[in-house]
């Protein structure tokens, strides 16, 4: 599962721009993950502050 640590997230939207399934949304100041997420992990490497993690 993709988890968003909202204590770390700085709501910049970089993760949204690389999501191949268009499953992330930056809603004002937080990230929403929709069911289309394939847990590919691309966004976890793009996040400048390490707020995203694919957890087993």
């Amino acid at each position: 599962m993709l988890s968003v640590n909202r204590y770390k997230c700085c709501y910049c939207g970089a993760c949204v721009s690389v999501c191949p399934t268009c499953s992330l949304e930056l809603v004002e100041t937080w990230i929403e993950v929709s069911q289309g997420c394939k847990e590919c992990g691309i966004c976890t490497k793009i996040c400048p502050v390490g707020a995203l993690e694919v957890k087993a």
Binding site: C12, V18, C22, L26, E28, K45
Partner: protein, 392 residues
């Protein structure tokens, strides 16, 4: 609610489009999902003076620093100085985006555009297969806004294009992921923008110190997405950069963000939709600058949209003029800069050191980015063999 044109996103590109449309006498609404325009900042805030002056009347209230030039550092710490206004159009002024973005939105509003804050577009509305507006949510309430033409100025996280069938998803190698601190430190030179290159400092990008007044600066760095080896790499590397370059620096703000460093999109319009700014990957792949390019595109898009609405035809063929006018000179130049970026990210630290050292006896103070690249090519034909076909 019904308008001629709906703009999603109130950054500089969206505000310029909305202003241009309102001045042409059209009814226009601009949505901003945040409750404040211009905040939080996700930008290093440097712009070319000439570029800015061509677009707006410069107001001292949003100029944080007026620069004399740039200093470029190689990985081993050697440096050269480039002159004011001639460092790739990137430097000149450092803006206060929190004030700048707001001012542009207010100008759009004063020209007649309606601005809605804390209002997010959630999807496009379609009738008989044609786009006819957006579904929006404001403070938890969902409602519809009708407009035959939607301009997506919704930034790096753009959805408007993707909803309309333009794939704007960035590949990791085409995004620079960045972290920045606003820093107070005695060592900051208020007159020069500084660029630091090195595969250990900022893999596939660069670190910057852009002054914002007396002993204050935006200090940040980017990492090319495909070079990001760990979790939260930009922030970690920025903390290291602070230790090595500004150990006593006092951090009073943190900003992060992604910058498209991508090839030109094949399509920036489709029936009933136009994209501008970061949403259309219009930032410069070499420098990362995207304020002037986005604003320029906003103006062109606004003019073309106004024509299209007056003709009653918002099909792609009717909007194509925007892409044509963008392409020359802007799009073509950015595509060349993409090719340069693709080449330069392959260089080792030793290559970068050699390149900079080759310029130390040259009169770089009078050079702009183009002159500097030409000299580099002349002085380092073997190392830059791969660039022999790139026309500057």
């Amino acid at each position: 609610m019904k308008y001629d044109v709906l703009v999603v996103g109130a950054g500089p590109a969206g505000s310029m489009a909305a202003k241009t449309l309102a001045e042409a006498g059209l009814s226009v609404v601009m949505l901003e999902k945040r409750q404040e325009i211009g905040d939080p900042v996700r930008c290093a805030e440097a712009v070319s003076k000439r570029g800015l002056k061509d677009l707006v009347e410069v107001d001292p209230r949003w100029i944080a620093a007026d620069l004399k030039g740039s200093r470029v550092f190689s990985p081993d710490g050697a440096s050269i100085v480039l002159s004011e206004e001639q460092s790739g159009g990137k430097t000149g002024y450092v803006l206060e985006r929190k004030i700048f973005d707001r001012t542009l939105a207010m100008e759009a509003a004063c020209a007649g555009a309606e601005v809605m804050v804390k209002t997010r577009a959630q999807g496009l509305l379609k009738r008989d297969g044609k786009i006819c507006g957006v579904s929006a949510i404001r403070s938890g309430d969902t409602f519809q806004i009708e407009a035959p033409l939607v301009i997506g100025a919704d930034g790096i996280e753009s959805k408007v294009g993707r909803w309309a069938g333009i794939d704007t998803t960035l590949k990791p190698k085409d995004i620079s992921t960045c972290a920045q601190f606003l820093v107070k430190d005695e060592s900051i030179d208020s007159n020069y923008c500084e660029f630091y290159f090195g595969n250990k400092i900022a893999p596939g990008a660069y670190a910057w110190i852009f002054p914002k007044g007396e002993k204050v600066a935006n200090v940040g760095l980017g990492v090319l997405g495909s070079r990001s080896s760990g979790i939260g790499e930009p922030l970690r590397l920025l903390q290291e950069f602070m230790k090595s370059h500004l150990p006593k620096g006092k951090v009073v703000e943190m900003d992060v963000g992604g910058v498209p460093v991508a090839p030109q999109l094949e399509a920036m319009t489709t029936d009933g939709v136009m994209l501008v700014g970061d949403a259309a990957h219009q930032s410069d792949p070499l420098t990362g600058g995207g304020i002037i390019t986005g604003m320029t595109a906003g103006v062109i898009a606004g003019e073309v949209a106004a024509d299209a609405i007056s003709r009653g035809d918002v099909k792609r063929a009717s909007l194509r003029d925007y892409e044509d006018r963008w392409k020359e000179p802007n799009g073509n130049k950015l595509q060349r800069h993409y090719d340069l970026k693709e080449f330069f990210i392959g260089l080792t630290d030793e290559d970068l050191n050699n390149l900079l050292h080759s310029l130390t006896n040259e009169d770089t103070v009078k050079m702009d980015l183009r002159d500097m690249l030409k000299s580099l090519l002349k002085l380092n034909p073997k190392l830059l063999w791969g660039l022999r076909h790139v026309i500057f």
